[in-house]
């Protein structure tokens, strides 16, 4: 069941609260679920539960590469590890370990990367992964997810523990615009149409869902009809949804809090080029490193606002 309740307002729940309640709930429901962190339990609300359950919550200290390896060793013993660090560290800092010890060796683990892209705000450029989806997309058999809101986070975590392969889930710790009613289930791999439209479609993920919805509302006043599709599963991409909406609208925009290379824009472009070519424009980071600032500053700085989405829509329609 999916119920869309988007009205532009923030979900009152923070994603770190959802992580802090869902991870313990999963561990309590399944004795094989085990959670590993790298000295960041306090950042996602798992510290108190972890301290009380040292056999279910393993704090590996500040050693992400080792943490991934330990998780994989546990997976080989039949456990279902959920591993957390900030997205910058749970991707590039331990990529060889994720690639070989997990992916190649077929040790199935779920890797959480918090504070993706501009949501890293005050931690700045060193902590701002615009490349994490690109890295994990290149890992054979992986699943790559950019979370839309707290309800989706809960649903996705429940699905990930029993899904084969390496699952990379990127999510900001703070609030997101509420898109789905609590209790909604968002099946991994299936795009979700948030808004119908006929002139263009925006495929968006993560924080860009809200920007895309705002853009679509603004464009409606200009007489432009824009569909918005939540493409939260960036890999495996929902090929049918991409082609369906490309066919219906003839004009595609992608919107992602990530480098234009290797993430959603690449994934959608690959489908369009191979299966259903139509003009495409993107709203994404233009191959730059991150920097420090508030999220609103950074969204403007890197061109990730509703205005940028609207402009991309106008441009792609002009190319039809």
């Amino acid at each position: 069941m999916i119920k869309i309740v988007y009205n532009g307002e923030l979900d009152p729940r923070l994603c770190k609260q959802v992580l802090g309640s869902t991870i313990p709930a999963l561990a309590e429901a399944d004795p094989d679920v085990i959670y590993l962190d790298s000295d960041l339990m306090n950042c996602i609300g798992t510290a108190k539960w972890g301290a009380a359950h040292p056999d279910r919550a393993i704090n590996c200290g500040i050693a992400e590469a080792n943490m991934i390896g330990v998780a994989c060793g546990l997976a080989s013993e039949g456990f279902k590890p959920i591993v957390h660090s900030f997205g910058c560290f749970s991707s590039r800092r331990c990529f060889d370990q994720a690639f070989l010890s997990a992916g190649y060796a077929k040790n199935d683990i779920t890797i959480l990367g918090t504070d993706p892209g501009v949501t890293a705000t005050m931690n700045g450029g060193t902590h701002m992964p615009f490349e994490d989806m690109a890295l994990y997309r290149a890992l054979p058999g992986s699943t790559v997810i950019d979370i839309t809101d707290p309800t989706m986070l809960e649903s996705v975590l429940h699905q990930c523990v029993d899904l084969p392969g390496v699952k990379y889930v990127r999510v900001g710790r703070k609030s997101y615009a509420k898109v789905y009613e609590e209790g909604s289930e968002t099946p991994i791999g299936k795009a979700i149409t948030l808004r119908e439209g006929s002139d263009a479609v925006v495929f968006a993920t993560g924080i860009m869902i809200h920007e895309a919805m705002q853009a679509a509302q603004a464009l409606e006043k200009e007489g432009i009809s824009v569909a918005v599709v939540d493409m939260f599963t960036v890999k495996p991409i929902d090929v049918d949804a991409v082609c369906e909406w490309a066919g219906k609208t003839g004009a595609v925009v992608t919107a992602e809090n990530h480098n234009r290379y290797g993430g959603l824009t690449s994934a959608v472009s690959e489908v369009l080029g191979a299966r259903c070519p139509v003009p495409i424009e993107h709203v994404a980071v233009e191959d730059e490193f991150g920097e420090v600032g508030t999220q609103s500053y950074l969204q403007k700085r890197f061109g990730l606002t509703a205005e940028h989405v609207a402009e991309a829509v106008r441009k792609v329609i002009s190319r039809k």
């Binding site: 393993i58 590469a65 080792n66 994989c72 060793g73 039949g78 370990q97 070989l100 190649y104």
Partner: protein, 279 residues
Amino acid sequence: MTTETKELKALAAKIRIAALTAINSIGSGHTGGALSIADALAVLYGREMRVDPANPSWPERDKLVCSKGHAGPAVYGTLAVKGFFPYEELRTLNQGGTRLPSHCDRNKTPGIDMTTGSLGQGVSLACGMALGEKLRGRDSRVFLIVGDGETNEGQVWEGFSFASAKKLGNLVVLLDWNKRQLDGWTVDIHDMGDFEAKFKAFGFDTVKVNGNDVDELAAALERTRKGGDKPYAIVMDTVKGAGIKEVAETAMNHTYPVTDENLAIWKERLEAEIKELEG
């Protein structure tokens, strides 16, 4: 020499023949580092480890992680001699579609407990396996072979400190101190200093032995059966290329050709040794 000593020495010689046979099928390979651990593998699979060749994935078994994954042919040789898979299969090493790739792969080879090859990663994997055994309440142990050159990798030390912090007394590290890495002598390339002191400083129950002496290895491994809160380290003072004079005496022996001619000579020598040991 006790009967058991003779048996273990004979097994080590058989492992050397098997490893060289595998490498010979492709002409060359990581010969030096395979030979240096042959005695340790003989004692592990001939005496210490609880394994069942007919049931390689038996959950209660002891497990081996050969983190210096390029020594795969030595492990394959051991597994073939012990009957985990047909001996003739050694001849398929590195051939397309083989179950015996150059580096150990748990998804391909019966008896290989963990995939390794990117140096350092096996240490963390073994830590996770040992932790898993503890959490499962099993008395299985995890044996981890690490190369001395491999310890250049920082992940090795992340793993060792984890093992100590998490009190993994069911983890036994066997450090193959053969003193050589690909580019030459370890003291020249990147001197890691005193391994015994390092392991002790990391909280390991540590001993140093002649790693090419089956009796010393057997005694050191027997000590580790008592478990406890400390992980174990056995610093094995070995010779890279041990057991084959020509390889051992060649300074740069990380890779060394095993031609048909070489194999015939070395095999004859090792078979004579086995015959004498087995009387």
